[in-house]
């Protein structure tokens, strides 16, 4: 993990303009707010956070589907926007959340999986056919599905097709945006196992976005916790799960309901008010819900503080408050 990062975000901000209701005026919505992030080769970076905090937006920026409003994205140290989109596409591929909408219903599985080859004009028809069979086999689908259509498949099978499509060009980085959240647990574990196997086999780097902390813990090597467009804590998976620092990370961890009977439902100690991303709270965005909020949290935005294996953004750990970093 000491090598140069394959993927790096530098102070990336993405702002949308949204209109609320019919009479609303357009207002800026900062979906990602000055985020810096590094992804080392072979790493699995888990990205967790509440719905609407900007995880998917981050994924889209990385994929080049959305241009950042400011900041830059570097792949292997090169700026992304200067690169040929198609070149980028060979290196970064996505797997989306909804296996039902991520496959074109009008195309056969063979068409869907071979699309990257055709777009990039790789090989001839016969070699493409071979490549498709090969990759289908790798993701655990029988070759006979080649001539079927997405509507004929189950969710898990579709997600396998999506994975096959993402991997057929042998990319380095795969961005998984909640790849299992639409699937039943019995299928989820198949997909997770598959992703784990593929990582081994192809030496892939993952950005793994999920709601499900248990899954993240299982798969990730590093974890970034996002809240309202900011990465509030980043750490190795062991560090985060053993000693979460940010109160939000703490709350997230304590909300994980493991199948252990008799332990009851934990108290997360979070307020019930969900902040409006268009009009985020002042100071530390998290302060209205924070059980350990201090008066100045409402005024001053915290700055990133280094931790042994990452960083945290919280006044609790700010030197100026006299608190030592653990």
């Amino acid at each position: 993990m000491s090598d140069a990062p394959v993927l790096e975000l530098r102070n990336v901000t993405k702002t949308y303009t949204v209109k609320q209701g019919m009479f609303g005026e357009p207002k800026p919505l900062t979906a990602i707010n000055d985020v810096s992030l590094k992804l080392g080769r072979g790493e699995v970076l888990g990205l967790v956070g509440e719905s609407g905090c900007g995880k998917s937006t981050l994924a889209k920026v990385l994929l080049g589907l959305e241009a950042p409003s400011s900041g830059e994205v570097l792949v292997d140290g090169e700026r992304l926007d200067g690169q040929d989109r198609r070149k980028l596409a060979r290196r970064i591929q996505p797997i989306f959340q909804d296996p039902y909408s991520s496959l074109n219903p009008r195309k056969s599985i063979a068409d869907i999986v071979s699309l990257p080859l055709r777009v990039h004009k790789v090989g001839d028809a016969a070699s493409r056919d071979r490549a498709v069979r090969e990759i289908l086999d790798i993701v655990g689908l029988p070759a006979r599905v080649m001539n079927t259509y997405p509507s004929q498949m189950s969710g898990g099978q579709r997600q396998r097709v999506a994975i096959a499509r993402a991997l057929i060009m042998k990319p380095e980085i795969v961005i998984c945006d909640e790849p299992t959240s639409a699937l039943d647990v019995s299928v989820q574990s198949q997909i997770l196992n598959l992703l784990g196997d593929l990582r081994q086999e192809f030496g892939l780097t993952y950005l793994f976005i999920s709601h499900n902390l248990a899954v993240v813990e299982h798969l990730a090597t590093r974890v970034a916790v996002m809240y309202l467009g900011r990465i509030v804590e980043e750490a190795s998976v062991g560090e985060l799960f053993d000693t979460p620092r940010h109160p939000y990370s703490v709350a997230l961890l304590s909300s994980v309901l493991t199948p252990e009977p008799g332990r009851g439902v934990p108290d997360t100690q979070l307020g019930a008010v969900f902040p409006n991303p268009i009009d985020p709270p002042s100071g530390c965005h998290f302060h209205p819900r924070c059980a350990r909020a201090m008066p100045h949290c409402a005024q001053v935005a915290p700055r990133p503080l280094p931790t042994p294996e990452g960083h945290v953004e919280c006044h609790l750990y700010d030197d100026s408050r006299g608190r030592a970093v653990a």
Partner: protein, 309 residues
């Protein structure tokens, strides 16, 4: 009930487990076929339309008379079922021309106008709608504004005015209708494109590196096609009815071209005395438009079952 139950057989071959079937469902094609043949309205509409289309195509072969041959001495002869003779099965019109032959040739006019007008407006509207839906922003603003302008123009009135200025003829009527009826295409295509654009497979295609035209052609278009076809049928019906109305008001296709609207208009004067002159072409028009609408409605059900109850 138990007919489908597997019976333990003595044969060595392992009996197939019924639960294993249907792991892969029917193909989209099979499903479509199943739905088509299960949809009465669609079948009736389509078959009627095909029959009318066939009649229009082979009009010269099946028309018993020259639709233009006038015989002022045998004007307004009644159809057979009203006591006329078999020479003119549906009677003759006010200039003694064979009504049946004119109806048969009239099918050509209606279908031609409906088809070409829908084609023209379909091209315009689809291009605008897809562009607006896919690119959004300025393009969308301009297209939406144009749609607004178009909707605010009273179609019948503007069509009448333009036809009055340019003189009625098949080409003018087709052109005017084609240039006026694109609004629904634009609206529907815009909405459909917006919907499809948000699907993840479009994002996936972009992430793969597909070019915009390729995405439009292979990812977007096939998925808005069914909506498009439905609008085509609706607008075809609309164009046919508008042409008939224009002709009825005397500003559509010009005589002696046998247009059904014109026939109603010409028969209208004698409506009190020879109502069949109006009833027959009107009914044929009704049947044609009904068939197209049934087909369109059916198509909507058949191609997009998710929109159904």
């Amino acid at each position: 009930m138990s007919a489908a139950m597997p019976r333990a057989t003595a044969t060595a071959a392992a009996p197939r487990d019924p639960l294993l079937e249907e792991i892969t469902g029917p193909t989209p094609g099979q499903m479509l076929r199943r739905r088509i043949f299960g949809h009465q309205g669609f079948l009736i509409g389509t078959i009627t339309l095909l029959v009318l289309l066939a009649i229009a195509l082979v009009a010269p072969l099946i028309a018993p008379h020259d639709p233009y041959a006038q015989d002022l001495m045998s004007r307004m002869e009644r159809p057979v079922f009203m006591g006329g003779d078999w020479d003119h099965v549906l009677g003759t019109d006010h200039l003694g021309r064979d009504y049946l032959s004119r109806l048969i040739y009239g099918a050509r006019v209606s279908l031609l106008i409906g088809g070409v007008a829908a084609l023209i407006s379909g091209l315009i509207g689809t291009a605008m709608g897809v562009a607006a839906g896919y690119f959004g922003g300025r393009v969308d603003m301009v297209v939406t504004f144009l749609i607004n302008v178009r909707l605010a123009m009273p179609v019948t009135l503007v069509a009448l005015a333009v036809v009055a200025v340019l003189g009625g003829s098949l080409e003018v009527v087709i052109g005017v209708l084609g240039l006026l009826l694109w609004d629904r295409f634009a609206v529907v295509m815009r909405a459909s494109t917006l919907q499809v654009r948000g699907r993840e497979y479009v994002a996936a295609a972009r992430a793969i590196g597909c070019s915009t035209p390729r995405i439009l052609l292979t990812e977007i278009l096939p998925n808005i096609l069914n909506a498009l076809i439905v609008v085509v049928t609706l607008e075809m019906a609309h164009a046919i009815l508008l042409e008939a109305a224009l002709s009825f008001l005397g500003l559509g296709v010009q005589p002696p071209t046998p247009s059904w609207g014109l026939m109603v208009s010409e028969g209208k004067n004698m409506m009190l005395f020879e109502p069949w002159l109006v009833l027959i072409p009107g009914a044929v028009l009704f049947v044609l438009v009904l068939a197209i609408n049934l087909m369109g409605d059916g198509l909507r059900d058949v191609t997009a079952p998710e929109n159904r109850s």
